[in-house]
Symmetry: C2
Subunit: 334 residues, 2 copies
């Protein structure tokens, strides 16, 4: 079977370009050894955190290796198998994204997907996957949101932010979200039930946020960093909590920009700022899947996806994350 | 009785100067009404946080009023009394600093000082007072230091920092402190038992700290802000904790300087940064006094004081805080 895959050729400086990558075709032999399984991918995920792995430096995960296929979350179907636990037809999630097909020597790196009912298997890369758990753990555990609190979430139309806002509404919060287009803003308020949506391209976010939160903010879920964090700090209530999840505005900066000049509010207001990484919250996985499945079934959480077609579109999709081209989870159908 | 006191005449911009203040003399009548108490102050405290109250803006406390005596921690002795609970000779602590004497209508604003044994009553303004509780609560509760961890404290020769480092040593930590002179650095290592002392005026603090903490830092107790926080962030271990106590380097800035440009480490390393104010930890007062009294008695905590003489030296003493003129607690003997 021929499989296309994307290799990293060089570590990009600044915004990655097509020159840093190579789309190549390999042959995946259908001649299986004992316990081997052949998987054809259906969807792969592109996520902002992957930019960090392209830097060539170790952060909390190793950098991507050069001249190998990139990796990342994906879902696929077993199309050939010599392993009794993984019969042909089994839907699986795994970390062998950025390629169309692959073989694996046993099932240890595969996760069987639960009965889908009416849901596309792609939800396991979004609302029921890593971005969903990020939102769930970040809001309820890291920021310890309590019922009725005022929550601000940046990047609110993204894969994580949209779920954060909807969980905060389920928890009877007042929810303010920021995003980069008026279409997204309308989506947040009319489709997802946000109380207020701010388009940060329309006016300075600090000014809009101050108007939107005259009584202050209890929880800020930060996906953006930069000016958004600086805008939130002076509006935080006493004992407010800031979950530091990401700083997409800065991922392609070659030199880090200045930090928030008003961090003194952390003292004055007794704030807690806590950085987190979803993999530290694997222990919440079971509760998360139970709650999120129910919320989705009841229509309390909607999980829009932005899907592009074909591996040759994976790189534009990835780069599109930094231009805000996605609403909800950005996915590549393979 | 004549009493000199210091009034605030105008809200300073930048570093305060003598023009913002007025030393004036008032008459405190010794003709006492029922339940009135007359106190002659012995020591008053000057503290960096007072700069915030001179800004004219509300932070976590109200600003100082203009054309009135400033306030702040002080200890004194009852010299006349028509209140049975407060007989002449009683040693008291209270918040009527920046003056030599005052009358109070009842004892509610006074705290009786416990049996002093060999200690000067001034310790209730330092190691056994607000700075001591700040160190104790900040290190053990806010930063949740565990035995054997590596602790970095900035402003380590100051009233709070010197106590932080000594408690961290009692808790079997490896302790690194920063200060601004080589005399202070020698004091920290030879007198207070710090493992390493860094003079930030000798070389960039980031460089010195990286050498002093090759295996990383578990807890950073930040009294300074600015470059010290930026130096600590990339050296923090996973799940490290930063207690944000003060930012003395910035208290006189008219425009806030840039924040740490490497706050992304808070995510990568899953750090918790928590701002705090000592008054929120009044519930720890009893444990604190018990532990600290014992530690001082056993010689495990030494509490050096820098004492200036006379109310006319109070303003130079206060301004001296920002130039690092004190080792340990800065006090004015009245």
């Amino acid at each position: 079977m021929l499989s296309r895959e994307i290799h990293l050729k060089s570590y990009p400086k600044g915004l990655p370009s097509s020159e840093n990558f190579e789309l190549t075709t390999v042959t995946v032999s259908e001649d299986l050894g004992d316990k081997e399984v052949l998987v054809r991918n259906l969807y792969m995920s592109v996520d902002p955190y992957m930019r960090g792995r392209m830097s060539g430096k170790k952060t909390y995960v190793d950098p991507f290796a050069l001249n190998e296929a990139l990796t990342g979350g994906a879902v696929g179907r077993v199309v050939a198998s010599r392993h009794n636990d993984w019969p042909v037809g089994t839907l699986v999630s795994h970390f062998f994204g950025w390629r169309e097909a692959f073989k694996t020597a046993d099932g240890r790196q595969l996760t069987k997907l639960p009965d889908m009912q009416d849901l596309s298997p792609s939800v396991w890369l979004g609302a029921l996957g890593m971005p969903g758990l990020t939102a769930y753990a970040g809001l309820l555990e890291v920021a310890a949101m309590k019922e009725g609190e005022t929550v601000f979430v940046s990047g609110a139309a993204g894969a994580v932010g949209a779920i954060v806002g909807q969980i905060a509404k389920i928890k009877k919060g007042r929810v303010i979200g920021s995003c980069g287009t008026s279409e997204k803003a309308a989506y947040l308020t009319t489709e997802l039930g946000f109380d207020t949506a701010l388009n940060y391209r329309q006016a300075p976010i600090a000014q809009q946020l101050a108007q939107a939160a005259p009584d202050g903010i209890d929880v800020y879920f930060d996906n953006v960093g930069g000016d958004h964090l600086e805008a939130a700090l002076p509006l935080m209530k006493n004992f407010g909590r800031i979950a530091l999840c990401g700083a997409i505005a800065q991922y392609n900066d070659q030199e880090p920009g200045p930090g928030p000049k008003n961090l003194a509010f952390a003292i004055i207001r007794r704030l807690t700022l806590r950085g987190f990484i979803v993999s530290d919250f694997a222990g919440m996985q079971k509760d998360f899947v139970r709650d999120m499945s129910l919320w989705m079934k009841e229509g309390q959480v909607k999980a829009r996806e932005t899907i592009v077609e074909g591996l040759d579109q994976a790189l534009p999709a990835f780069l599109g994350l930094f231009k805000g081209e996605n609403t909800g989870k950005m996915l590549v159908r393979l």
